[in-house]
């Protein structure tokens, strides 16, 4: 690949990635991109030629652009479809993330040293807890919270509490 081909390839890539959203030099990018796509079947030499033609003649470039517009619209429709599917997947993912965040919130708040309401269950003790016996019972104290170990089912967890 020579330098021009790299340039065209990069532009096609950029155009593919940013189609519709890319404003500066939109004409040049789309024109060349389309020319490359049209000429792709014949090989990169024809793309090179199309590129040269486009550069040489504004009119030719405009014609190529017209031709490209149809192909682009088609591509755009495909892309919108893909985006819709992606958005749906993203929404699902966001939902899962939200649930995860909610679960992690207590843990984070505890780690950040924020006092938690009594009875908050965390999987792990926040870092830097110190064993603190109160009234003959062993607690862990950190971030303004007293924690006591408990079994949730057969899993050992920690719950915030107020020592008596």
């Amino acid at each position: 690949m020579n330098k021009t081909e790299y340039g065209v390839a990069a532009m096609v890539l950029a155009a593919t990635l940013s189609m519709g959203g890319y404003v500066p030099e939109a004409h040049a990018l789309r024109g060349r991109g389309a020319a490359f796509v049209v000429g792709a079947a014949a090989g990169s030499a024809s793309a090179d030629a199309a590129n040269a033609n486009a550069a040489a003649s504004q009119q030719q470039a405009a014609a190529a652009q017209q031709q490209a517009a149809t192909a682009q619209q088609q591509a755009e429709a495909e892309k919108q479809k893909a985006i819709a599917a992606q958005q749906q997947a993203e929404a699902e993912k966001q939902k899962a993330i939200a649930a995860q965040q909610q679960a992690a919130q207590a843990q984070q708040a505890a780690a950040a040293g924020q006092p938690l309401p009594a009875g908050t269950v965390v999987d792990k003790l926040p870092p830097g807890c110190t064993p603190t016996p109160v009234g003959g019972k062993n607690y862990q104290y950190c971030g303004g919270n007293f924690y006591e170990p408990v079994y949730e089912g057969s899993t050992l967890k920690y719950v915030t509490t107020t020592p008596k």
Binding site: A99, N138, V150, E152, G153
Partner: protein
């Protein structure tokens, strides 16, 4: 069940196409509940009922759904000792988990040696009732507990919509009959040793009530009939410095067949 139907069913299972293939197999002229499969299940159950004291090693894989939507397995190994009617001990050792469960006829204790914490609750008077209590009240699932019940057969065979002898399989070096049963909400498979001692060597329960169709699968090995068991084995004595903690009351665990 006709031979052809049988093999197509077996092939479907082998290919993981149960959902597609089971329909035709069930609708064949032969009954969906094969009495031979039910008899084999009953024979295993009666054999286990005849044991007074035994131990077994279990390796369970609990399929779970991660918050991300991906399936994640949890593996638990345990050595279980039962002395009927009212002694049970389960040692979950090796790997990341070191936890011991003791039932001495009066109390149930869970102990984590690494963290030096334990919790004790008053327990019902029999192994069977204590298994229920552990699951429903505390949220502790015992591996393959369904098979540890005395007189498990009526519970296992309740509401059966399908019973099939899938074929033969070798589990842990032992040639077994592979059986499949289905009831509303759950499918279960049992692999039972051929020959005069029908030990169960694998037990898989699949939750069919949710689209995820998650399973709990347990391999059972090193079955031993024990002539006598020292009572001290089931009694928990807190080591020096161990801290008593409590069980949080939790939602009842997912019910399993046999209950």
């Amino acid at each position: 069940m006709k031979r052809r139907t049988f093999w197509s069913t077996a092939a479907c299972w082998a290919l993981g196409l149960s959902g597609l293939c089971l329909g035709p197999a069930v609708s064949a002229q032969t009954p969906a509940v094969d009495p031979v499969a039910v008899q084999k299940l009953q024979r295993m159950s009666q054999f286990l009922d005849s044991l007074q004291r035994f131990s077994v090693e279990t390796q369970s894989t609990l399929e779970d759904l991660h918050e991300s939507g991906h399936r994640v397995d949890v593996d638990v190994t345990a050595n279980v000792t039962v002395a009927r009617p009212n002694r049970l001990r389960a040692m979950r050792t090796g790997g990341v988990m070191d936890q011991r469960l003791y039932y001495d006829g009066k109390t149930l204790t869970l102990f984590n040696p690494a963290e030096k914490v334990f919790a004790t609750e008053a327990a019902p008077p029999t192994v069977e009732k204590t298994i229920d209590f552990a699951r429903e009240t505390i949220g502790i699932l015992l591996p393959a507990a369904d098979l540890l019940y005395r007189n498990a057969f009526p519970l296992l065979s309740q509401d059966l919509k399908l019973a099939v002898v899938v074929g033969k399989a070798v589990i842990g070096g032992v040639r077994c009959d592979h059986l499949l049963f289905s009831r509303p909400g759950a499918d279960f498979q049992v692999w039972i040793a051929e020959g005069p001692k029908p030990w169960p060597h694998k037990y898989t329960v699949t939750d069919t009530s949710s689209p995820a169709r998650l399973s709990i699968s347990t391999l059972l090995s090193h079955w031993k009939v024990l002539p006598a068991v020292d009572d001290a084995l089931f009694r928990f004595v807190p080591p020096k410095g161990a801290q008593q903690i409590r069980f949080l009351s939790v939602e009842p665990a997912r019910p399993m067949p046999g209950k």
